[in-house]
């Protein structure tokens, strides 16, 4: 790994004995507003200055639910050279990758072309973000791997972008968000799944996004905490849609990762799906197996924000219902609700499960040896 050639500041030394981990949810940011311009055709520079991104929500700048911290990120994660948290590779290395001994870091860029109404602009920004990931991040630190972001509402353009990146070892997955114009199982998204399966890339479905629908089935809530807690409900519904629409029947080699939406809900959702399916299977004859079987074979979960019950037995029982082979450790660096690697998993886990949880599951899923 080329990182071994870097000068190590003293902060790295006490932690160098730490076991290597995979961090399956790292958020790289742009240092400045125009950092993406070199990767975008000139016409889009003026377009962005004049009209903005024209998203599926009302704010010209910033999120409709103000975050708990600036940029939803740790206050100690501002790079010394300036710019927002997560925008400096060298500071990310110094603050996170080196001291935590991150052997594999999966980049999930947010604020890309996803959730933009103008699909030409969406496609252009996504392509730019993918080029930017290579140039600024993955080509400079081989521990980091990118996610192919795509114009999610334009299946044809999204599939083309995936095919363009197929075989490029800078990327280990395709990235979608959980909240879109329609539930993720809908056919408009199938070209994305077809191309991802063809390219052998798992699809990460990260919590968040705006698709024009109220973020609860009973309308818009009031608070940021409702949006944050609600990511798990949006993710459950998106997963139910993927299963019930028959996506995994149609694309039997497709793998998906539920990113940053919790995993504790998975057993109850699978039980509910199976129970309701036993009554209503006549409506969905394209399903050949029980819903829980598709989930068991096709779905992985990242861990952050880690489920945190009072009793560790409750946590362990929940993970056993899901499978120790299905969880991928993640910190969400540099976001404020970051999970500290050394404190996430309570004592009492076997070495094999610990190794699977922190590293091996991710290496296996993403094909990194």
């Amino acid at each position: 790994m080329n990182i071994q050639l870097r000068e190590r500041p003293e902060t790295a030394s006490p932690t160098s004995v730490k076991t290597a981990i995979a961090d399956c949810d790292i958020h790289p940011a742009r240092a400045t507003k125009d950092e993406l311009y070199p990767y975008l055709e000139k016409r889009w520079h003026a377009h962005l200055e004049t009209f903005g991104v024209h998203a599926y929500q009302g704010m010209m700048e910033g999120p409709p639910y103000p975050k708990a911290q600036p940029n939803a990120s740790r206050r100690d994660a501002y790079p010394p050279e300036g710019g927002p948290q997560g925008s400096s590779l060298s500071f990310m290395q110094k603050q996170h990758l080196d001291p935590n001994n991150v052997a594999l870091g999966v980049l999930n860029p947010l604020n890309t072309g996803q959730g933009i109404r103008n699909q030409d602009l969406a496609g252009a920004i996504c392509t730019a973000i993918n080029d930017w990931q290579i140039e600024k991040w993955t080509s400079k630190d081989s521990r980091l791997k990118g996610s192919v972001v795509v114009a999610n509402e334009d299946g044809v353009s999204a599939a083309a972008e995936i095919r363009k990146r197929a075989g490029d070892t800078n990327f280990v997955q395709v990235l979608l968000l959980s909240r879109n114009v329609e539930p993720l199982g809908q056919r408009r998204y199938w070209p994305i799944y077809e191309a991802a399966q063809e390219a052998g890339l798992p699809i990460g479905v990260h919590a968040f996004g705006f698709g024009g629908n109220p973020i609860t089935a009973s309308g818009w809530p009031s608070y940021y905490i409702e949006e944050m807690v609600g990511h798990s409900q949006c993710q459950q519904t998106a997963l139910a849609s993927l299963v019930l629409e028959g996506v995994f029947e149609r694309f039997p080699k497709l793998k998906m990762v539920m990113v940053e939406a919790g995993f504790g809900w998975a057993p109850s959702l699978a039980w509910r799906l199976d129970k309701v399916f036993s009554r209503l299977h006549a409506e969905v004859p394209h399903l050949k197996r029980k819903p829980s079987e598709y989930i068991r074979d096709h779905i992985w979960w990242t861990t952050q924000p880690m489920e945190d019950p009072e009793s560790r037995d409750h946590l362990f029982q929940t993970i056993e219902w899901i499978g120790w082979d299905r969880l991928l450790f993640a910190t969400d660096y540099p976001h404020w609700d970051y999970d500290e690697p050394s404190r996430v998993l309570p004592a009492g886990v076997s070495d094999a499960n610990r190794q699977a949880f922190y590293l091996d599951n991710a290496r296996q899923l993403y094909g990194i040896t």
């Binding site: 539930p183 009973s218 009031s222 409702e226 807690v229 798990s232 409900q233 809900w265 509910r272 006549a282």
Partner: protein, 358 residues
Amino acid sequence: MTSPIAGGVDCDLHPAVPHLTSLLPYMNDYWRDQVTTRGMTDLISQSYPTNSPISSRPNWRPAQGKPGSSLADMQRQALDRFGAAYGICNPLYGVQMVFSEDMADAFCRALNDWLVKEWLDKDERLRGSIVIPVQSIEKAVAEIERCAQDRRFVQVLMLVMGDMPLGKRHYWPIYAAAERLGLPVGIHAGSAYHNPPTSVGWGSYHIEDYVAQAQAFQTQLTSLIVEGVFARHPNLKMVMLESGFTWLPPFLWRLHKFWRGVRMETPWVDRAPLEIVRSNIRFSLQPVDAPPDGDTLNRLFDHMQSDELILFSTDYPHWQFDGDEVLPRGLSQDLVCKIMIDNPHATYGRLKVKEMTP
């Protein structure tokens, strides 16, 4: 199998309105005329298509008419069968789906009066829920006050998916009235379809709508807790009906974690979410979204950290269980007693404990 005990309270029964025309005798001249002149059709919600397997257990489906429309059937198949001392009627007729608050008000009044005459007056075990026109707070409160004079109405009924999240301050006068009159607020599965029925848009299938009920309950619990409904109304009880409950522990882990992280946003939430749930929120038993083995179920009850949260229900005539297996396997006799008798009586203050003759 776990056997039910006599004297229980069945907290979720669904008497069916045979047709919109069945409510005509309970409307004034204007609304009777509106319904007939405009040729209004029956108000059947997409949440429960009449012929969907979910809407009726196969051997509870009548030869003709809607499942749940016959009192004799309900008595034989549910009340007598499981030895209920009380059965709480939660009509799911689609009166909340209309967009006119005046029409909704007229139809809710008719529905509540119909329930008294056609059901409560005919079986002394039956109790009612007050269906309200939620789009108008004034009319909803007036309807609660009107019906509450009849002590056989034991709760207020709302749907889990309406126009706005249920914790919104807009709805608080409803909660104030319910608390003042000693009525829990029951939140039942179902959508008014004023918003897409999932938080990520419209799915293709009925099965998606039904699965999504559980997620809707989760977002409503968040809303009710973080808006501060129970800080303002500490004596208000809310009952999640046909919600499922196996999602509750992981939901609370997550809500608790974020509450610790961003409680500065909602400083009036001065107790942990789990404590608020323990003191103010209850869940009906059916559906039990869990594997049929007693071991898993008992672990889930352990994860809930309370034996006071669940209230017995058959969800009659919906198809949630077969045969007499209304209680999941593996429950202790003590827990059965709590679920069937103690917990419902602790929730519904208007029920009087009956001495059951052996």
